[in-house]
Symmetry: C2
Subunit: 685 residues, 2 copies
């Protein structure tokens, strides 16, 4: 019963290949060396594979349906919570709970025995090619590589098909679900307070994340050493693994906190600091972790690693940044045309350009997620101004919806995976160490940096702000996506399990305690004139003013219809060039020069005006609720918070729901008509 | 160098299995029979498969990028065409041309040699399981079945990797791209004229499509017989294949024609007949073709087939219809709640419910596309009225965008595939026969049915309408998706190639000649009061009136907030039940009883009013263009068409572009505020 088997791989024909195999290469199709195993039993030759494919398709549909229904359930419960004004549990936390429940059911209640669909071909092929052709009794079937499976999983596959079925390819998170989330974050980053605090945000995001990564890495290495000493370590765990863990848990995602900030209209500077930091440190963490992974094969614990990795990561980062910036600008130039007559075309183009940024970056070997982030930021700053009002609404609503769906899907999958992932390694020492390290890493990011930044800032980051930022260091979608990406080794499995717990804890405990923390830290609400006026000079302005002037006088007029015409800003000698670059619309706009960022000119008068269009609104009872300029009293205590909680609640809840991230706030002053329309909508909804 | 190979499949353990294999089953893991081929050469044991996976991912990104850029290019050119008012080429035709160009480049200009990524494991395994585990030197890799490849393709794979890379899994069209298109069609079917012509539309869609399918099938069978006689046939071609071909080319898709109708405001009844027929015959064609395929294995040419297939298809059709209707109603009931306060949640829920309809239908073994169609129709009729005005806009815009992207993607892929598909079988006799059969099949659908329908209709379908319907029998996305789904056999390949040509011809020639055909057939434009009044009684009304009354008095009040409160429509004895089922809002609405379908009550006064909100608009020069009631002269000649072409062009182009399918028209009368807003938008854009 011995069978002949000639096999080989076309992928890596190297010198180690035996002579016989070389011969077989010549005998068979030039570049194709096929393994022919002939078996005597060919009775089942004409099995209806279509039936099986259909069955598999139906099963897939049913599995996906489970997730869709999970999301539907989440939405209905969120609605209930919003309706009843429960603020202790955010939709993402809720999605995780539902995910957990479904995970428990799948794991313990339903036991679908293997549907006998798998064949294990255990051939010592020298490589695992991306595509495999299997010759089944003369018919060729194409198989694509899904991924490596650990030895233990091979038996699991036969054990519970259902669990494996609901497991998504980890790359799905990175290539499908994360991009809309990150893009949406970048797209809604166009906030006046963001640019005002740019220096501090960059410091927290870049320096802070790197510091946090290394602190956590070092602490975890100590922890791992301890575990090795007392024999609690079941596999390899290198220093690079520790650093990798540090990088992935350094990506904060305070979506829960920000949603509450938004509902309660918490101080805009604190909001900008937190949001800006969380958006940018995602990018830093991705690049950092990928550069750490990239260097892993060279040496497991060499000290030359760090400088090289930093250099490489810095290089990648710069490349991605400039590449996506260029693309974003290109999009801006494209939408500069009269496409604004056709909102559908415009929205479609906008969507495609954002997506192609991601794909282009991935095709070039950059990190698509980072490219998409900066693309979103550039588009919000320039392209958005070129869009027709209808397209502005459409794009915002589209990305808002995509963000909402992707985020809730990721969080519910997170809950699910706690029970359905089969290779969890829960090590108590590692978990305790990780929680400690995450806490200390965050502290080492926030407090020393705040101290240093306060030396340069005119308006200091107060200690209650620092505590709040410390507290708001939630871990979320990005941390999860990075940790699930590779769970092949023991170290990675332990990291993944621990990361899950960190995410759960921070989202539920820190997220749920935000309102308590806010009132405990006596964080004031925004709005009062006095507070605003105080915060206008908080950043050392010279760098900022140079950039602003350049952007306002040259970039905006060239790339958008807003801003002053170039003929006014360029010297007289450049007249013809200026006339050629300026669109007719820019002249029309000349009288209404105040574009969306005009309050960046640190002019006190502007600020009251800039807030004017978002705060005055009518609540359910028809009473006039005004958090801002109208009621110009300094509200600097938790009494105000309580009052806000009790009184203006209905209005705030509505606004908070309509836009999970505060986009209303970031809009440019629209033409009078559409502003009136928005007001109307608010009163109608 | 002989290697031991034990192999087996866990999927179909049948009696034909040899004793040795049974033994090996016991020896190894209970349900797992693995084939262990041990090779001596394991020098390349630790090959970095990650590198290859990364490379493959980058390549995939680049391939997808090609399509995205193709779509971008299409959008830019469409914009140019719309801007310059070229009406001879629709965006779908344009997408095909660009696809063709890229296909030529990929086929002849770029030659990427195989990247040596494939290994052919030619084992006489008895089945092709959905999942394959390959043991590569101790590590297990999971492979998923992509599909069967014909023998000739195996060499092609080595030949040009690029071509194979840009080939999508045919199921992508059915499971990802088609659903939004079909859903959007159903969602925009809420037209007063559709319900007025319901009887005729159902006759064309059901009877007509079946007639057309059998006529084409019979003609093609004659053609195939002829080819067999003169030896032009290179493979099997059964009668069921002919019928299958008849079914797939019976699905019409006059998207090009309808876009022009919409721009030119062509007669609303003709529009409703064409659009309604095309939407429903897609569903009929899908079910028909799948039932024909389902019966193929039993007997290739048996005559018992037909009755059975019809029975089965009828059963499936009824099941799918009732299932999706139930789901649609369920969605309506869900959105009946106060979710309308939160547009984002509402839109997300709406989207998820539509998607779950598709998945549920697929999981139950129904046809998801058909389910989605009826779901869309039900949602447009009931759920839409429950949505908040903002969600109504959001959902429409979302599905409009998805439809636009999916449609253009399919058409550009169609162009691409003419050159990149490797197994084309172009047979001149078959092609000529097919064109003839398609023409005759369409004629056998339209003319006899119109004659029969005219016997019962008060207002006849005039002969120029019949010619126009004949002419507008374009084939499009559905025909393509059905024909590319299976291209394994010779017959299917010949069908696929021929279908492509039919689609190209009809979209370019018939689509491009629509305006000429309209003026040649002297089709009048809608609007003139006289014409409208004439067409109000065109359908034999008894069936319609019964349905309308039931729907208006009972279904609408129960399922939506619109319509009269049940307390008014139900007999007095049902008072408590009625009060319990009626929402408070319905009472509020009582004074504004005229809901979106109120003009279905064949009341002449309504019609002028119903059109009032869409036709008065200002064109670019500020002059008052009014296609409808204001200028109430009977415009019944091609002079009018020419006038419309020359004069009201700008306004019409804008409207036609904003909504490729006429949704403006199908909206319910919104509260006064939002209607004013829409007007403003039109003037602004």
């Amino acid at each position: 019963l011995g069978r002949n088997a000639n096999m080989g791989s076309t992928c890596e024909i190297n010198a180690a290949m035996s002579i016989w195999r070389r011969l077989s290469l010549f005998v068979l199709a030039s570049s194709l060396c096929s393994c022919l195993c002939r078996a005597e039993d060919s009775a089942m030759e004409n099995i209806v594979t279509e039936k099986k494919a259909e069955e598999s398709h139906r099963q897939d549909s049913a599995d996906l349906l489970v997730f869709i229904l999970l999301l539907t359930l989440t939405i209905l419960t969120i609605w209930l919570f919003k309706h009843r004004r429960f603020r202790f549990l955010h939709e993402t936390g809720l999605a995780m709970i539902y995910g957990l429940l479904v995970g428990v059911v799948l794991r313990y209640a339903i036991h679908v025995p293997s549907d006998m669909n798998n064949v294990t071909l255990s051939c010592n092929v020298n490589a695992s090619p991306a595509t495999l052709l299997v010759n089944v009794s003369g018919k060729f079937y194409e198989y694509t590589l899904k991924g490596e499976i650990s030895g233990s999983e091979v038996n699991d596959i036969q054990d519970n098909e259902m669990l494996r079925k609901v497991t998504f390819d980890p790359e799905v998170f990175f290539n499908i679900l994360l991009p809309p989330i990150i893009f949406h974050a970048g797209y809604s980053l166009k906030r006046r307070h963001f640019f005002r605090n740019l220096g501090s945000i960059l410091a927290y995001a870049f320096v802070g994340t790197v510091v946090s990564c290394f602190i956590i890495g070092l602490l975890m290495y100590g922890c791992v050493m301890l575990m090795k000493q007392i024999g609690h370590l079941g596999g390899d765990f290198f220093f690079t693994d520790c650093l990798f863990f540090g990088a992935i848990v350094s990506a904060t995602d305070p979506v829960t906190v920000l949603a509450i900030f938004n509902e309660l209209q918490v101080d805009a500077d604190l909001y900008a600091l937190l949001f800006g930091e969380s958006v940018l440190n995602d990018a830093v963490a991705v690049v950092l972790s990928s550069s750490i992974v990239g260097y892993q094969p060279e040496g497991d614990n060499s000290h030359t690693f760090e400088a090289m990795a930093m250099l490489k990561s810095f290089g990648i980062f710069l490349g991605v940044f400039s590449g996506s910036f260029a693309l974003g600008v290109a999009t801006g130039v494209v939408t500069f045309t009269k496409l604004r007559d056709f909102p559908l075309l415009e929205t479609a183009l906008f969507f495609l350009m954002s997506w192609s940024t991601f794909l282009l970056a991935e095709a070039c070997g950059f990190t698509g997620v980072v490219a998409v982030l900066f693309c979103g930021m550039t588009q919000a700053h320039y392209t958005f101004n070129n869009l027709s009002p209808e397209s502005q609404d459409r794009t915002k609503q589209l990305f808002e919806l995509l963000n909402f769906l992707a985020e809730n899907f990721i969080f519910s999958y997170m809950g699910l995976t706690l029970f359905t992932f089969k290779n969890h390694v829960f090590n108590p020492i590692f978990i305790v160490g990780a929680f400690l390290a995450v806490f200390l890493g965050r502290a080492a990011n926030i407090y020393p940096l705040s101290f240093l930044l306060n030396l340069g800032r005119k308006y200091k980051i107060s200690s209650n702000f620092q505590h709040m930022m410390m507290f708001a260091g939630l871990r979320g979608a990005m941390t999860f996506a990075l940790s699930i990406r590779d769970t092949a080794t023991y170290a990675r499995q332990m990291m993944f399990s621990t990361t899950l717990l960190v995410v759960f804890f921070t989202v539920w405990i820190c997220g749920g305690g935000t309102t308590q923390m806010l009132s405990c830290q006596k964080i004031r609400l925004i709005g009062p004139d006095g507070v605003e006026r105080r915060s206008t000079k908080q950043e050392s302005v010279w760098f900022f003013r140079i950039w602003y002037n350049f952007d306002h006088n040259y970039l905006k007029p060239i790339l958008t219809h807003s801003g002053p015409p170039l003929t006014a800003t360029l010297p007289a000698c450049c007249g013809p060039l200026a006339r050629c670059l300026t669109s007719p619309q820019a002249y029309e706009n000349e009288e209404q020069l105040k574009d969306s960022d005009s309050d960046l000119i640190l002019n006190d008068g502007d600020i009251t005006l800039a807030y004017g269009d978002i705060t005055v609104s009518t609540d359910a009872t028809g009473a006039h609720t005004s958090g801002t300029p109208v009621g110009g009293v300094a509200v600097n205590s938790d009494e105000a918070l309580d009052r806000e909680l009790a009184f203006g609640d209905h209005e705030l809840v509505i606004r908070g729901t309509r836009l999970v991230l505060p986009m209303d706030d970031s809009e440019p002053p629209l033409p009078l008509d559409s502003r009136r329309h928005r007001h109307k909508n608010e009163t109608m909804s």
